[in-house]
């Protein structure tokens, strides 16, 4: 177990990811391409939803990753607060922009899907609402990182915000479900009520979910590497001044 923490050493992290990143990046591109091409070109139209069912291959993976990204930031923040490994703080910072974009993709694909399905771009459905709130949490988190100069202070404050924010995000989700009954699908992979989703959709969906996971991983690794370098640059410039 102790050996796992060694990857929290920036140097070790840089060395490992130097080799890992291209592999993950190519895997991400290939798997996502396979998933999306399969989904877009080689799936039948749904008897009720028509061709819009193809949107599921973007919508579900991105919504999933948007939530997972926040969970990953939460874990990384905890590690930073408890063990004070710089890499985890910087990884949390790098994950945030990826998380926002995933959230945005989820929102946009959902909205575009909603137009034909529900006859409206947007509805104050609880799942949609809590997703929008998640978007706001991302924005606040990023804004706080951007507003603070001192890197360690910024890491500490954003980590606490992430913890407190997670609790309130859960509360908000609960509140949203309390507040209105929605139009949105439940959390089972069943597109039409009563009928189980067909493997014709399920298989490409799983592929593109894996692809989005790999995209997230690749972008977070690349972002973390950049943040580590930026951090080192900052430290070096400060040393230069001191000399």
């Amino acid at each position: 177990m102790a050996s796992l923490w060694e990857y929290a050493n920036p140097l070790k992290f840089m060395r490992t990811t130097d080799r890992l990143l291209p592999v993950v990046a190519w895997a991400a591109v290939i798997v996502t391409a396979v998933g999306l091409i399969w989904g877009f070109f080689f799936t039948p139209d749904d008897f009720r939803q028509g061709s819009t069912v193809k949107i599921i291959f973007l919508h579900v993976p991105s919504a999933l990753m948007a939530i997972n990204a926040w969970i990953m930031m939460l874990v990384a923040s905890l590690i930073w607060l408890i063990r004070r490994h710089h890499v985890s703080a910087l990884a949390a910072k790098a994950a945030a922009p990826v998380g926002v974009i995933m959230t945005l993709i989820g929102l946009i694909t959902g909205a575009v899907w909603g137009q034909p399905m529900w006859g409206t771009w947007w509805a104050w459905d609880p799942r949609l609402t809590s997703f929008l709130i998640l978007f706001l949490f991302y924005l606040g988190y990023i804004a706080l990182w951007a507003a603070i100069d001192d890197p360690d202070t910024a890491a500490d404050l954003t980590a606490v915000l992430c913890l407190v924010g997670s609790v309130f995000a859960l509360l908000s989700r609960y509140a949203a479900f309390f507040w209105s009954q929605g139009l949105h699908q439940g959390a089972s992979l069943s597109v039409a009520p009563g009928t189980r989703i067909d493997w014709a959709y399920k298989a490409p969906l799983y592929v593109s979910m894996t692809g989005f996971g790999l995209i997230f991983l690749a972008l977070v690794i690349a972002g973390t590497r950049t943040e580590i370098r930026a951090r080192r640059m900052k430290a070096l410039v400060a040393r230069e001044r001191m000399a």
Partner: protein, 207 residues
């Protein structure tokens, strides 16, 4: 009841500015911190006051024994001089506001809102706060800024009386305070060297 600082390294903005600072302050003694602008006097005082963590070394002081006074005096503009002092007296659980007002020659200004004081008068009020904290160790950052010569002498008298009662004072200043009995610590000689490069690679660059 002694303040003992041993081999202290303190940092500002993520970089060590002072290194290996050691001294001992016994009851009844004063230590004057000197050094050019930017050498780290404020940083040292804040570290000793417990407002920021030290990077290395030890600070031994009894709990709740240090009264810190910074450039900013924590004066509330809309409260009167007495009300300002009263608040700190109650917070620190002491009750000697009147004595402090007389001691710092603030009697004539006692009912004035602090915002109508001149720069030097405000400073006198800030120093009067020290008297109501009842704490033995004073850590003062340029306490005589804006004071005229009479007030500087008044302040020196106050510090001397505090020392005579077994108090201690740690004062960063650029001017002559008229406290010849105080020891002087030149902070210029403790300038931190750059941490060595390359030894541990990336991780070191963070500190």
């Amino acid at each position: 009841m002694t303040l003992r600082v041993h081999d202290l390294t303190c940092a500002r903005g993520g970089l060590p500015v002072l290194e290996g600072v050691s001294f001992t302050l016994a009851p009844g003694k004063a230590l004057i911190l000197r050094g050019p602008n930017g050498c780290g006097k404020t940083t040292l005082l804040r570290t000793i006051a417990g407002l920021q963590p030290s990077i290395a070394g030890e600070i031994e002081a009894p709990a709740d024994s240090i009264a810190y006074a910074a450039h900013a005096d924590g004066i509330k503009a809309v409260l009167s001089v007495t009300e300002n002092l009263q608040f700190w007296a109650e917070t620190f659980g002491t009750a000697s506001v009147e004595a402090a007002i007389d001691r710092m020659k603030l009697r004539a200004l006692a009912t004035r809102p602090a915002q109508t004081l001149s720069a030097g008068q405000k400073r006198r009020l800030g120093l009067a706060r020290l008297l109501v904290t009842g704490r033995p160790i004073w850590a003062l950052d340029e306490p005589t800024v804006s004071l005229d010569t009479d007030s500087v002498a008044l302040f020196a008298g106050v510090v001397r009386a505090h020392l005579e009662q077994g108090g201690m004072a740690l004062i960063a200043t650029h001017i002559d305070l008229g406290l010849p009995e105080a020891q002087v610590l030149e902070l210029g000689t403790y300038k931190a060297r750059l941490p060595e490069e390359g030894a541990g690679g990336f991780d070191e660059a963070f500190l």
